[in-house]
Point group: C2
Amino acid sequence: MKEDSNTAPASGIRGSNQSGMRAYNERLVLSLIRQNGALPKAEIARISGLSAQTVSVIMRALEADGFLEKGEPIRGKVGQPSVPMNLAKGGAFFFGLKVGRRSLEMILINFLGTVIGRVHLTHPYPTPDGVVRFTNDSIGQLLDQLTPEERKRVAGLGIAIPFRLWDWSVALGLEQTDMEAWRERDIRAEIAQNWNFPIYLQNDASAACGAELVFGKGETPRDFLYFYIGFFVGGGVVLNRSLFTGRSGNAGALGSIPIGVTGKKARLLVDVASLATLETAIIATGGDANILWEPPKSWSVPADILRDWVDDASSGLAFAIAAAASVMDCEYAMIDGWLPEEVRAELVRQTEQKLTDLEIAGIEKPPVLEGTIGTSARALGAASLPLSDRFLVDQNALLKA
Amino acid sequence: MKEDSNTAPASGIRGSNQSGMRAYNERLVLSLIRQNGALPKAEIARISGLSAQTVSVIMRALEADGFLEKGEPIRGKVGQPSVPMNLAKGGAFFFGLKVGRRSLEMILINFLGTVIGRVHLTHPYPTPDGVVRFTNDSIGQLLDQLTPEERKRVAGLGIAIPFRLWDWSVALGLEQTDMEAWRERDIRAEIAQNWNFPIYLQNDASAACGAELVFGKGETPRDFLYFYIGFFVGGGVVLNRSLFTGRSGNAGALGSIPIGVTGKKARLLVDVASLATLETAIIATGGDANILWEPPKSWSVPADILRDWVDDASSGLAFAIAAAASVMDCEYAMIDGWLPEEVRAELVRQTEQKLTDLEIAGIEKPPVLEGTIGTSARALGAASLPLSDRFLVDQNALLKA
DNA sequence: AATAAATAAATCACTCTTATTTATTATTGA
DNA sequence: TCAATAATAAATAAGAGTGATTTATTTATT
């Protein structure tokens, strides 16, 4: 699969002009409200440093375009009551597709990030044909739930999918050929033929990171490191409050962080901290590994196997976090995944402990936190891709179209 | 020492306005010429996407201000001959100070990056008082070489200094107290009292990385990883063609990358790939380690000691590069340092070999290259700090002042 | 004649400054 | 206690200023 196909047009460094400036300031307003909740115009002016008049003009335009709406005036303070402006839930709609080990999931979210539609399909393993068909069908179904007016406001589809699917074959116990198909197919392009909104494709773990960045609860830090534990473990790197995907779109390939060497073979994080490893352990003792792919609430993994896995995984994560923190000096590390909440909590606790115990001079060890999104992070993150690209601050927004 | 004092004002996300736009486009023009050499206005317009008229206005202004100058018209093509515009060497001047293990070095460069003045001082170890006095004295001397007109165009001083100097004491065999002074002193502020140009302070290895970015020969890649081998080993991370220093200014603390664990103690890159290690090895065999601090051309380190050191150092570097590449997906890794050229070449060769041999799935291993600046990278990088801040593209340039 | 570089004049889009309006709370004086 | 007045803050209108763009023109060359 042409994984590069998601990458923005490489382009050299471009100049800036007035429309770029306006686009940037509009995104800034929307981003500030998304981060802080409803805010009056005067407050936006103070935060952004823009003049009150400029903010007034921009926000009235955004309101007229249906992206913002007035809240109840707040009285009780000296002066004219302030009118908080909030995101209008019908401002735009986004599709998010998660391609997973055992299932496909399509969600439809509104401008506030609320899931307003969901289609789910279980499969033995993902195939390009199956994914393309499911995508087109489910988008059709979900569009039916929207009014004709709302349909015009669909701003895109994001796809969260593990990269290098063809490397799965062995782990999945499938014939090499079943996965080889992914190498050549460009499902993004195929799906794009059917729809006239933009389509984005990203590594599933990076997408999950995007969900945390856009929809995460609490204050989002400038720079953080994110791990998502799925069939494999992957992650994302957030710099300056935006997801850094690098030149090839594969930055934050955190599963490939080496955590030790035996001879010439590096042991990688993915070898110890992914559900594939846990599955193997369960199967080795004659257990039924399918429980892993049910919604995590209902997991019933033998306690001793789980304990060993958490022990190994947290050691690997601690080492990986230390390595990554040296490179990018992050404020904190976050762990989420397709895990029951109590397993995630224990994994975070042990990782934090092992990181604290590790003696490393010269860097500050970031605190380790639990993700705030949980199991649905990948689908939500997928849907956040078109949202980020169109409505959130982005350095490139300043440049010429 | 308040190492944070260099960090840019934290500030939230700011809006953009016309002066920001113009400032950005001016920097863009200067950056394009610095990267590509002399370019005619029409070519700048094509690369930047700005209209020919806009570029014409901007470049005439820059010429009038003395930052650009006309080259010889190029004939031989259809149409009016193109006039390549180049950086004017007298456009601005910058001071760069390197604080090192055994010496201080102050350089003065012109707008082209050519070193036009240099003052050097050997010391047993760096003290805040010594550094402040040397700085003020040497700036005074070097200013005498400039005309009164040129003196007005001094745009700043950059200081490249190892962070956490107080951790040196043990390695240097000095009393703890000698280095404790650094913890409290803010030499940047002290020096700033004497001069009315801006002063920047940065980790010495990150500064060296900046030299590569600004003055490096050949095409500079978007994203790369940089190691500078000095008394300690450190580095820098370049993202989107700019030096990423992170929230605390300590990103690219590449010396702290863990390369293995024994019990709870992590072995770090700095333990195997710094000259401090080599010095220890030399002293252990009764040799004279002072040769290391002479200009590297005249090194005469026993061959067997050097061979062992290069072997260990390259193994550590290979592992560190693999780890960092997983996090940030860099185009390549670069190694430079206070080293004789043949040692650097061998170190790079072995690192590349060991990285190739290392089996790691899921990432592309970056090629390893030699730095193009060499021993003077730190002082040049220091001088590049005010240059970057005032004259090169920088996302923040677009925002309101 | 064709082509390309460079520029001039007019236009357009945007933010900023200054001044005004509006709605509210705080203070004052009978 | 109550009404009149002052102070304050939000919001906006009008006009100024700045900078990129468009269109047209000039210039120098093959």
